[in-house]
Amino acid sequence: MDITKMYSTGHASVVHPRLSVLSTSSLPSEHSSLSASSSSTRFSLPPTSGTGTPVPMPSSASVLTLSKTPLTATNVNRPNIYDRPLNKTKTSEVSLAAFAFLFSEMIQYTQKRVNGIADFERRLNTLGYRMGLKLLELYAWRTEGVSRAPKRETRFLTALSTIGNSMWKSFFGRAVDAIQKSVTVDDEFMLTENEPAITKFISISKDMGILSCSALTAGVVEAILDGLGFPARVTAHNVPTETYPNCTTILIKLDRSVLDREEALK
């Protein structure tokens, strides 16, 4: 995995292009190449710990922050968010309105920094990618505690159906409306949602064209597939229908290597 390679070589200045919003790499499919971008501060701690140290894992990050703040009477008792039990918020729900405002602000922030729809969708995709990495880990950790025989999916179709059903339920409260395979091309799959929750309140004006803000969800799916070992390019497309004008499809285009492996395992 590219990310573990980055940690072990100790080069904090080389950031995985999918993780850096400031990355100048143009193609989102460059999974195997690490481009040296100057945006190390986006994903690593500020360079007070020295430029030669590897990017720290979350547990050591909490140690670093604790040692930086002086132990006064007020904050010695304040619980650190990293020490909270992970299952504490397992069944809690986030207000859709609160998320909608946050997402609206994320989109406005991105819009100011891009010059084109493709770049805009790529940036939303990157934001979703960073979320997706953590969501996959959290989901795996939580299901391990619940089920007696948790299984890691090695075949693509079962993995896709887990993503579309149980993972979607844990993120959005409901499963996707359809999981389809393309008939024309053998490496394309689609997850269709009739009413994506995160874009419920967003109206695209005519001059924005074919932009889909579900690019964030596409980024989440792409990170989950990467984490499970099925590298792909994932994009979101609006496919308005009569009854569902907001119908959105997440299009998954698998890497050649995945198809070859599926063939070999058949």
């Binding site: 909608a100 997402f103 609206s104 602000e105 309140f201 967003i202 004006s205």
Partner: protein, 135 residues
């Protein structure tokens, strides 16, 4: 029991949204609507000072012989004006629902600048639904 029109006036007095339903209302030019909205904003401000009992909100209902104007002032200074027939009693609920739709589809849309003219499609659709429910 008919609803003739809906205006939304921002806190500076500018008209940001107007929608007319049915054919009863005479069509004016867009400029005239802007002037009317500004005048209404001024009148509303004056009436909020006229109350003999101290602090009060501005005018809420203006009645004429043929129609009624219901004004709903939000906590942020935005005014929702509903033009209805004289016998209409549901204006308040309708305005509440329009306000909810405004908070949802206008405020949460990233492509809508606050206090600017409203050009969001989903809000139009929702308003049409609400008005159909009340006529």
């Amino acid at each position: 029991m008919a609803i003739f029109g809906l205006w939304i006036i921002n806190k500076a007095g500018g008209l940001v949204y107007q929608k007319h339903f049915g054919e009863e209302l005479v069509r004016l030019s867009p400029n005239e609507y802007l002037v009317l909205a500004g005048t209404l904003h001024g009148i509303h401000a004056i009436t909020s000072r006229l109350s003999p009992l101290g602090k009060s909100s501005g005018v809420q209902i203006i009645e004429s012989e043929t129609f009624k104007m219901n004004i709903f002032l939000t906590a942020t200074g935005t005014k929702f004006v509903l033009l209805t027939s004289l016998t209409d009693t549901t204006a308040d609920t309708a305005l509440q629902r329009v306000y909810e739709a405004y908070a949802d589809y206008v405020m949460k849309s990233p492509f809508q600048t606050p206090e600017m003219p409203i050009r969001t499609e989903k809000f139009d659709v929702k308003v049409a639904e609400i008005i159909k429910l009340f006529t």
